[in-house]
Amino acid sequence: MRILVCVKRVPLTGGKMVLTDDAQALETRHLGFTISPHEECAVEEAVRIVEAEGGEVVVMTLGPAEAEEQLRDCMAIGADRGILLETQGEEWDAQATAGAIVEALHSEPEPFDLLFFGNESADAGGYQVGIRVAHALGLPIVTGLKKIDLRDGSVRCERDVGGPRDVYEAPLPAVLTVLEGLNLPRYPSVPGRLRAKQKPLSRTAVSPPAAQLEKLRLIVPEGQGKQAEILGNGAAAAPRIVEVLQELGVA
């Protein structure tokens, strides 16, 4: 099995969002970076499939030079190879991103059996890149997935529709976009981290095409203050706590 997983370097924010002075982006000077939880599940799923079936997991990202950090993170949990489509740090819209990915795939020696994407990126939330790539490649695509089972030459996938699930069956090769909850991603081990440093990573400089989407500015919505309800004091609070946990569906 040859599986491609596309990931995006996004900031790890706290509760409060702070914009740059020109309101064009998040202020990320003191923030760490990661890939979105959807993509973490995608990488984990790909690694599990290849562990079972044999093959190769390739992670690809379009981003600045620093995005190598995210590729190495994926390689630390089992991806075999990384491809960095290196930008100058500017933002690319979904159309441009998909175009660059499709272009890069032309340089791949062999086609992929599966192409995983997160359902949407954690920052821009465009929901489009996976779909646009699938369309450009003429491949079937199923989105918003919470479960995947490989069959012989096809894949059976489930999408949560608020209780019951829609079930799809797609022939391979196929594009799948997944949601957090698909699986429980593993943490990297120390040997995994050390191996990741040695795994191959290719860099290709890319330049954005003329922008199709113009961003004016970002706004942080008002009134997202914290609301705290005191459930009780000491042991007497326990019954109400149990209620809340049950309401949240974790107990």
Binding site: L12, R29, H30, Y187, P188
Partner: protein
């Protein structure tokens, strides 16, 4: 007394609890974050305590903290091992054994790799040479302890306010007045800043400075560890400090925490720390920088391959944690010199937190802490040491020495050459080897004197550690001084005048000795703490009825100046002359010959007796000559205005040539000269733990006037001392202890006096004129049989030369008084 404590980490909580305990219950504690974890360094601390430290003060604070944690049920003893991968480290572990014995940390022992394996089975002992095992190493619940302290205070009426941010600190007439917060204003007589990495910001609000820098130390958590799944406690196995790699590994429930002080220093700006809302975790848990931990992954894998090499063990948590670093690695405690009533309680680790809380509370409420905090006194810094450049440079340099092997004489490299005397050029030409004190460059010895080594037959020290930061030239300079004369650069003295109609009152209160003396006298006097121990020792020159000139060693000068300033009434004030005057010291049998050849003033013994000062003319310069001698020989301290310094040096130098004068450094002035005379030094023989009688310095009459510590001092004179400061010697030795080693009996057992204090070497150095190596130590009375100094785990027999202060060299002080 209205008190506001700002900060709810381990220090703020401990201080709050203890202030209330000592009776200051009109107390408000605020923190901008929630309790129990407001998001500071305490919240993510690893919470383990290794009690043994080479510093007496730090160890005392740690042991007191452990006592408090234990008493509140928040301490879990798990033991700890400092492991050695190198021979050099093994030597350092032997020194840790000595410190453990000197400061009374029980049960420590050196262990073999096989024993390490038995204690910590998941270690690969094949890469180790040995270890230092402290069974009392413990893990504490600092958040729980903090909560108990806050509750104690609340029970006594204190107000504890979480989610309350300080907006400003108002100061009027140099005194703190109120704290303004998001929940209103609080009038305050006393404000304590216990804000960890945010402390500089708070201090700045009040116009004061707290010289620390936030800095990163990395830590990761891995798990689940198969071996830990059936552990009975969160820490079943001893904690391992992998000293040579600047790392530690400790069990944390089902996981293993791996920490590092090995990476490049990563300093942050207090103003740039994220707020609680902006931070992904907490403001002091910063995003992990993977590249800074890469080498540490490998080092960790070498030491604990069973765990870190296990593919099923995942890295679950990794942060760049923020903590506070100071220029000298010591805490910042005490009333700020800039603002009365504003106290600093910053740069303190979980392992000292409770002890610091109690000590600071005692200092604030009772006027004196039980544990001597002179090393941590925030007043100790000169302006040059508060600059961002100095703070960051030294903090960065000190960071990688966290588990380092630091020689007692080791010099800093960063930020040197900040304060130089007018003689600096001359000294450089003479090949001065400069050591730094209080940001001053001071010659420790001069390479130009190298030929003296052969002339006086000085032997080298064989062992590299003993010989480090030392030269046989020092002993040669000493012998040349005793035979002819030597000149010293003493410009690093802190010199300040107490001036005004109330000047006498001030110095009478501060100085133990009688200060109502004729003009022209020089008094060497102890300065006592309220409990009768030493707060300082210094000389005071009576200039006029409204002017007393205080001269004190550079290292302690700023703290001394604050102490005098604090005791100035409304009609007395301080004039700092440190940067206005420079000093040449001239001592030796030929000193009078030299001085009389350049001045027409009468410097004979009859006209210019010992312990007096007068102004003499030298080449048209007015020189204040003070006839005292820390090296125990005939001579003077010669003071001129800074701009005349070079001229004075040259005049003395020229006049001294026919007499064989040599330049001599602090190696002689601070060690060899004074040890032969049994002169005590503050911070070594003299500290708050010992009184004047024990130091055998009570030969003067107690004045009728009141002074700080008088009652305690009179009581000390009434009783037998529990220990006496003695001069011990080693003869024919090939190893040279450097200080703080325990003095023990034949069976290695420590000497402990009636107050529970152990005998240890307070100062060590050669007595070249005696031909013996000198160690000073307090010994309990009685016959202890043959005594030894424990150095590098070897017992070296010592001779008790003198019990008390009688000088081993020139006991009747003929030279000084000649």
């Amino acid at each position: 007394m209205k008190v506001v404590v700002i900060g709810g980490g381990i220090v703020g909580n401990s201080l709050t609890g203890w202030l209330a305990e000592l009776g200051w219950t009109d107390l408000v504690q605020v923190d901008k974050g929630p309790f129990p974890n407001p998001g500071g360094s305490t919240g993510h601390a690893s919470n383990f305590i290794f009690p043994v430290d080479h510093s007496k003060e730090m160890t005392q604070l740690t042991l007191e903290s452990m006592r408090q944690y234990r008493e509140t049920g928040t301490l879990h003893e798990c033991g700890g091992i400092e492991v050695a991968r190198t021979e050099e480290r093994l030597e350092e572990l032997r020194r840790r054994m000595a410190s453990a014995k000197s400061w009374g940390v029980e049960g420590c022992r050196l262990v073999t790799p096989a024993e390490i394996k038995e204690l910590v089975p998941f270690v690969d002992e094949s890469i180790l040479l040995g270890g230092f095992y402290s069974p009392s190493v413990a893990v504490v619940d600092s958040l729980r302890f903090g909560t108990l302290m806050r509750e104690r205070a609340q029970a006594k009426g204190a107000q504890i306010l979480a989610n309350t941010e300080v907006k400003g600190i108002d100061v009027e007439d140099g005194r703190v007045r109120r704290v303004r917060t998001t929940r209103g204003d609080f009038e305050a007589d006393v404000v304590a800043i216990a804000c960890g990495v945010w402390s500089p910001r708070l201090a700045q609000m009040a116009g004061a400075s707290i010289p620390l820098t936030p800095a990163v130390h990395q830590m990761i958590d891995v798990g689940p560890v198969p071996r830990f799944l059936d552990s009975k406690t969160a820490v079943d196995y001893p904690i391992v400090r992998d000293m040579d790699t600047n790392m530690y590994e400790r069990q944390d429930g089902q996981g293993l925490e791996v920490g590092s002080y090995a990476h490049r220093p990563i300093l942050h700006d207090p103003d740039e720390i994220l707020s609680i809302e902006e931070a992904a975790l907490t403001p002091t848990e910063l995003p992990f920088t993977q590249e800074d931990f890469e080498l540490q992954l490998e080092h960790g894998l070498e030491l604990v391959p069973e765990i870190l090499g296990d593919e099923s063990v995942g890295i679950k948590y990794a942060i760049n944690g923020l903590l506070s670093l100071t220029p000298d690695g010591l805490p910042l405690l005490g009333e700020t010199p800039e603002v009365k009533g504003l106290w600093s309680a910053a740069a303190v680790w979980v392992k000292e937190g409770p002890g610091v809380g109690k000590s600071l509370a005692e200092w604030m409420v009772l006027g004196e802490p039980e544990i001597d905090l002179q090393s941590s006194d925030i007043a100790r810094f000169y302006p040059e040491q508060r600059t961002p450049q100095h703070v960051k440079g030294r903090a960065a340099e000190g960071f990688n020495k966290t588990y380092g092997i630091v020689h007692p004489g080791e010099q800093w490299e960063s930020n040197r050459g900040v304060r130089v005397s007018p003689f600096y050029d001359r000294e450089q030409q003479l090949g001065a080897v400069f050591f730094e004190a209080a940001a001053w460059e001071r010659p420790h010895w001069y390479e130009a004197n190298a030929p003296l080594v052969e002339e006086y037959g000085v032997k080298p020290r064989e062992h590299e550690w003993d010989a480090r930061w030392w030269s046989p030239i020092i002993n040669a300079e000493h012998l040349a001084m005793r035979e002819r004369a030597a000149m010293f650069d003493l410009t690093a003295f802190c010199v300040f005048d107490v001036v005004g109609p109330g000047a006498l009152d001030c110095v009478q209160t501060v100085a133990a000795r009688q200060m109502n003396v004729p003009d022209g006298r020089v008094i060497y006097t102890p300065v006592l703490a309220p409990g009768g121990g030493f707060k300082s020792d210094l000389t005071i020159m009576k200039m006029a009825d409204d002017r007393f000139r205080v001269v004190t060693g550079g290292a302690h000068g700023m703290a001394d100046m604050k102490w005098f300033r604090d005791h100035c009434g409304p009609d007395a004030w301080i004039e700092d002359h440190t940067s206005a005057l420079c000093t040449v010291g001239l001592w030796g049998p030929r000193a009078r010959d030299i001085l009389s050849s350049i001045t027409s003033d009468d410097v004979s013994n009859e006209s210019f007796p010992f312990a007096t000062w007068k102004t003499v003319g030298v080449d048209g310069l007015g020189v204040l000559a003070s006839r005292i001698s820390y090296v125990g020989d005939l001579g003077w301290e010669l003071y001129v205005p800074f701009e005349h310094g070079a001229a004075l040096w040259d005049a003395v130098w020229e006049a001294g040539q026919p007499h064989g004068v040599v330049p001599a450094g602090i190696g002689v002035y601070g060690t060899t000269g004074r040890l032969e005379k049994a002169y005590r030094a503050f911070g070594f023989e003299l500290d708050q733990d010992y009184d004047v009688v024990e130091a055998d310095m009570a030969w003067w009459k107690v004045k009728a006037e009141d002074f700080v510590g008088k009652d305690a001092h009179l009581a000390a004179r009434e009783r037998e001392p529990a220990a006496v400061c003695c001069t011990l010697t080693l003869t024919g030795n090939t190893r040279f202890p450097l200080g703080r080693e325990p003095v023990v009996r034949e069976d290695g057992s420590p000497l402990i006096d009636a107050k529970g204090r152990r005998s240890y070497v307070t100062s060590a150095g050669m007595g070249p004129s005696l031909g013996k190596y000198i160690l000073m130590s307090y010994l309990p009375p009685g016959d202890h049989g043959q005594l030894y100094v424990q150095y590098m785990e070897e017992l070296h027999p010592v001779t008790v030369e003198v019990v008390g202060s009688r000088p081993p060299f020139d006991p009747d002080n003929e030279r000084i008084r000649s």
